[in-house]
Structures are given as structure tokens and as C-alpha cells.
Amino acid sequence: MDHNTPVDPITAEIGGLQKPLKGRRPLSWFLFSAMLGLTLVLPVLAILFSPAAPSAPSDSSTPNPSTPFALDVVWNPGPVANAHQAWANDCQVCHSSPFSRVKDADCVACHKTTAGHVDPTTTKVSALEEVRCATCHRDHQGAFGLALQNKHFEGQNCAACHADIKKTMPETQTLNVRDFGQEHPEFRVQVLGAATGPTAAAGTDRLRRVRQASGVVLTEATTLKFPHDVHLASKGVRSPEGLVKMNCDGCHKPNSDRSSFQPVAMKEHCQSCHALKFEPALTNREVPHGSADEVLSTLREFYSYVSLNRVQLDGSKLSPAQRFIALPGKEDRLPTFVNGAGDARSRAAASATDLFERTSCVVCHTVNRLDVAGKAGTPGADLPQWAIAPVAGQHAWMPKARFVHSAHEASKCTDCHSAPDSKKASDVLMPDIAVCRDCHMGAEKVANKVASDCGTCHGFHMAPHEVKAQAPASTTTPLAASPAALATQRQTAQLAAKP
């Protein structure tokens, strides 16, 4: 109250009461400055004075800086994906420059092996040049946000290019695809091509993708002999224990995550019937399932022992089981080697001839007699020589698609693979698209069908090894080695070994 003015107390007090409460303006300034200062000015200053970060995940020579006291974490709009949690408080690891969207270079600093959609060395797609990593992968969407987005994007907009892919990419081998249910070409199955021509001799990759056609069984140039129909016969297949009913899972064991299968192995899956015995009347010994040299040396050593010790051999006293072992499935024809006569070398040679050409190797493998000397310095060097055509290792049948067997465990194997009817190992028993469409239809829901968008089977990114620019020279096992090539290699080795 102003004491200098002669105002009566009531007027003065009422005047005071009419003044509004003080503090609105300072309080406004305070809140405005506090919010702006704490949540903008401080973080920006901290970013401007960031030292280089030792915690950057990449081993690049210039790691992105780290904000002091992580003051910019107040800007974090939401939890980052689980895989990125380690850098949740280190914004500049991904956000390397202000007012610019997250750069692909910042992603690739860690994700070095992630390939693009096409091989940039062979293919240029202008539509893809505008696509950033973050076009599809947007973080800060929760612990599983990225995983959900990946699922979402995989099935989206593929048709925008692929419905008429020939228009934008005339040279592509890819056919037009609009929707799995309505417009999708027959599958291309990756098979082993014939081992002929200069590329085969040189041992380069013989895998090629061949398109299925309805009613045609694709074949693969395998050197293996295996009739699925005999082994899966409903009445059973003969074994040392009599008729045995075999199932697919007797040989095809799931791998550890049950997505696919372990390789079939001679020792675990074949040898209980297809034993490599060579003198069943005398011994249960088997030749090793290995190189021809090892087989020949085993035989040469054995018959040397037999000759030296004058061991009696009489194949006529074989039990039925021993007969079976000698020639599985063909009881009537007794092998000759059990009655072999002569010195150790000729006995071993006769036995080897039977093993390679009649009773064992030839049952499953393509065997070629070679007119060359044996491996120098081995006991079997003076025996005749054979070459077993190499068997290609397991390979993916549909490398561009994703198929998880465990997701289809409820189905019978034969629902998709017609193995019981297959007479040759060269038959490619991959189901065609019609089989898949028994259950799966396209992205749009169809009654009693599984709605399947492109992402159900396909991914956007190429596998790293598919990109030629990134792949090492050759990591694949050489698949091809013709008998001729093998003989040449051996002769060269022998020449080199001679003094």
C-alpha cells in the first residue's frame, strides 16, 4: 500500500484485492526456459562437444562420437529393438549427423554382411536406389518392433515391380509374379548339372536352377544309385534280420533346429545292411568306407596274412545272414571271392574286383576301373585300380525360398515328396507349386487356405554369398571330378613323387 497517498484504508485494500495474482509472467518464463533448456539446449550443446566414442560397435577407424552424460537420451522416442539395446544410450552410433535421416553407412558399419536386393555388380534397378535401410527398418518401435516390421515389409509391394518385371528388367530370368495364389510361375529347383564340358572338369559350380513343369520329374546328375521305392516298399525291405519296414526318418534325421535334415551318412544309415565285408565266412572285418587306396591296402594286407598263415577259406559254409551281407538283397548269387585261390596278390585282386564291381561299391556308386598304377608306397599299389565317382554334398533345392520343415511336421513326408514311387536317386523329389497350393493361397484370405504373402517364403535381401562382388573366390566344395580327371591327377602326383 502506498502510504504517501491519502487514501482511506478500505479503498486502498479493495484496490489491492483487484490486482491479479502475481507470478503468471515469471512462472511462464521459468517453465518455458526450463523445458527448452533441459530438453533442447543442453542436449544440443552436449552433442556439439561430443568426444569420439570408444563404445562404437563397428571396428571402423572413425567411430561416431558419444554424447557426454547421454544428455540426448531424453530425445529417445521409444525403446530400441532388443538387438540394439547395447547402444540405446549412444544415439550418435546411428544418428551420425544432425538434421539428416539415418544414413545407410551407419547401418552398414555393423551390418557388413547384409546384401541388397540385387547384385549391384550385375543389376541396376533405379527404383531401388531411392530405398534406404530405414525405409523398411525403423527402430524405436519397441523391443520386437524391427522383427514385426520385417515381417510386414517382406510381403508388401513386391508386386509393384514383380508383377511386370520384364518391363523394367528385360534381361532378368525372373518371371512375373503377382500373388502366390493367382499368378506365380512354377518353381525353379536347384539341381546338379551333368559333369560334362570344360567347366565340370575344372570343378566349378555345377548347380543350376531348372524350372519345374507339371507332370515332368526333374532329374539331377547324381552319381549315386538309390531306389527309394525298394527301401520304402510297403511289404518291407530285406535285411540281415529279415524283412524290415523302413520309414523316411530312418535315414533323414532332422537337424538341431528341425528346420531341415542332417546329411545321410553311410555309417549310420546304410551300413547295417550294406556292410563292406569281404570275407564273411572268416571275419566280420569290413573295408573302410573311404578312399580306394585304403580299401585296396586293407585287402592286400588281409590276404597276405591269409597266405602266410595258410588260413582255410571255404565260402560254401556261409549262413543265410552271411550270404545276405555278402550281397544284400540278392541271395542267389554267391560272390566268388570267398572261394578265391592263388597267391595273396591275386586273391586280393579278385576280392577287390568283387567288392568294387559286384558286391559293395558298385551297389551305390558309379565305379570306373582305371588303367593306372596304385598309390605309390601303399600295400595296395600293386592291385588293379578303381575310381569312385565323387558324390555331391547336400545342397539347397530352393535357395531363393524359405521352407521350414518343423512348421510342416504335422504333414506326412509323402504328402509332398513322392519318394515311394521313385526308382532312381537322380529323381528330384521336390514338390511343385500345385502341392503347396493344396494348403497355401495368396495374400488375400481364401476359405480353408493359409493366406501367404511373398514374405511367407521369400526375403528381400540376397544371401551374402550370392553377391559376387562380396563373395570370396570359391568356398564351395568342388563337385565335379570325372574319372579321367581323377586319373590325370593321380598320374601327376605319381610323377611328382618319383625321385
Binding site: 479503498t11 479493495i14 483487484q18 527448452l36 533442447l40 530425445w75 521409444g78 535421416r101
Partner: protein, 272 residues
């Protein structure tokens, strides 16, 4: 009053506008199926954010328009009507902009402040709807200054009447006239002065009223009227103080919101 009121201004024009705005935004939100989780980062999210930003700037401009007495840019009542309804619509726009995701960060701080400002605004609307007179300085059609003059008139009359009465009575009258409406500033919030001199005078005169002279009874009546006036003034000041407390929240909170809003927008594009 119905047509004139700020809530029903111009046939509730702004209620309809705000309703339409909300309906459009909710419709777009429901129709949108963004490739990432709904929120500020989708195209609709950017759009809703820009709309919300514009709304906030315009809503805060009401503080300028209110003071621009010479402005012809619409009536203040129209502006207030639009301010209330579009302010309520802002709650819908801002909520959709968040995609219903909240966290401990500057973005959610801006959202929480937005809701706090809107909540305080709703409180203000309720205050003004229940006591329209609080918008001015009027009490029963009179200003506080008028009421003050009335008190002084009563005091003058009482002094004259008391001249013929005992010194005790004269002392009581003097105490009453020099007593304060509120003994301290905090009593403005409760509207009560437990140590009121006029109340004491009225009580004492009431005890002595039996067999008192006509002048003393008249004095009692005047003091009683003075007390009634005082109580009315106190109740009015209490109510108005609380409306000011509302503004003391509404305005600074909205400036806090402006600060965090700037931080929100800049930070989003700083770490795009």
C-alpha cells in the same frame, strides 16, 4: 443468454468445426495402415503433428488477441468459443499423433503438458460457466469500488449515530470501520477472516441490543449490513482468486508446453 454465451457462440459454430476436425482425424487414423507402428513417424503422424503444432500456436495467440482491444479480427467472445472447442479438439489430435505410445522423453513431456493445459482449461470453463460474473469485476451489477464506497457510507452514518452514544460504542464503531477485509493475503483463498472487527462489533451490539436506544439499534442494523457486504466481498474475492489461480496454471503451463514443443520438433528432425 443462450446465443450470447461463449460456449454457444454463433449457433455453436466452433463446436461443430472442432467436432468435424476430430471426426476427420479419427477417421484417417482408423483408415491408415502404416508400415510401422502408428505414431508421429508415419505420414499421418507428421500430418497430425503439424496440425497439432498449428493449433497450439493459434490457441496461444488467444492471449494476444485478448489484449488487442482495438483489433477487428473477430470478437473476443468468438475467439474464446473457438479457443475452448479447438483446445478440446487438440486433445484428440495430440493423442492420435502419439499413436497411444508414451515414454519418459521430451515427446511425451510435450504431450503430458498439452493435456495438463487442456485440463486446466476445462477447469477454467467450468469456473466461468458457474460464475459468469467472475469474468469481470462485477458483483450484483456493482464494482468492488462501488461496494467499497458503500462501506464508507455506512461508516459515516455509524460515526454520526455513535456521537450521541457511549465511548464504548464509539470505540466499537471505530474498530469496525478500520478493520480489514482480509488480515493477510492467504485469506483470499479461503474467503474468511476469523478476526473480523465488524463481526466482533455486530456480536457485541447484539448482546447490548435489549433495551437499547433507537440510535443504538439503528447502529446495530447498519453494522449488520456492513458485515453482509463484507461477507459478499470476501466470497467474491475468494472466487475470483481461484479463477486467477487457474490462469496462473493455464498460462505458464502453456508456455512450458511451448518450450517442450519446440524441443520436441527440433529434436525429432535433429535425430531424424
Amino acid at each position: 443468454m443462450a446465443q450470447d454465451h461463449f460456449l454457444s457462440f454463433n449457433k455453436s459454430k466452433y463446436l461443430k468445426w472442432a467436432g468435424a476436425l476430430c471426426a476427420i482425424c479419427i477417421g484417417l487414423y482408423l483408415a491408415d495402415s502404416p508400415p510401422i507402428k502408428p505414431g508421429g513417424g508415419t505420414w499421418l503422424g507428421y500430418g497430425l503433428g503439424a496440425l497439432g503444432f498449428g493449433l497450439i500456436l493459434w490457441l496461444m495467440a488467444f492471449g494476444l488477441r485478448k489484449r488487442a482491444y482495438r483489433s477487428n479480427l473477430g470478437s473476443v467472445r468468438g475467439w474464446l468459443s473457438a479457443h475452448v472447442y479447438l483446445g478440446l479438439a487438440l486433445a484428440v489430435v495430440a493423442t492420435l499423433h502419439t499413436g497411444f505410445e508414451l515414454g519418459v522423453n521430451v515427446h511425451s513431456a510435450a504431450y503430458v503438458l498439452t493435456l495438463a493445459v487442456i485440463a486446466s482449461g476445462i477447469w477454467g470453463v467450468i469456473l466461468y460457466v458457474r460464475q459468469p460474473a467472475l469474468m469481470g469485476n462485477l458483483l450484483n451489477g456493482q464494482t468492488l469500488q462501488n461496494l467499497g464506497s458503500g462501506l464508507r457510507d455506512i461508516d459515516d452514518q455509524c460515526r454520526k449515530l455513535a456521537q450521541g452514544l457511549s465511548p464504548d460504542i464509539q470505540g466499537l464503531v471505530k474498530n469496525s470501520s478500520t478493520g480489514r477485509i482480509f488480515a493477510n493475503r492467504w485469506q483470499r483463498f479461503s474467503g474468511k477472516n476469523p478476526n473480523c472487527a465488524t463481526q466482533r462489533t455486530v456480536d457485541t451490539l447484539a448482546e447490548k441490543n435489549n433495551g437499547a436506544s433507537p440510535a443504538q439499534r439503528e447502529l446495530y442494523n447498519l453494522q449488520f449490513r456492513r458485515l453482509q457486504q463484507l461477507l459478499r466481498i470476501r466470497e467474491f474475492v475468494r472466487s475470483r482468486t481461484w479463477t486467477e489461480v487457474w490462469l496462473l496454471l493455464h498460462v505458464p503451463l502453456s508456455f512450458g508446453l511451448l518450450g517442450s514443443l519446440v524441443a520436441h520438433v527440433v529434436s525429432v528432425f535433429f535425430y531424424w
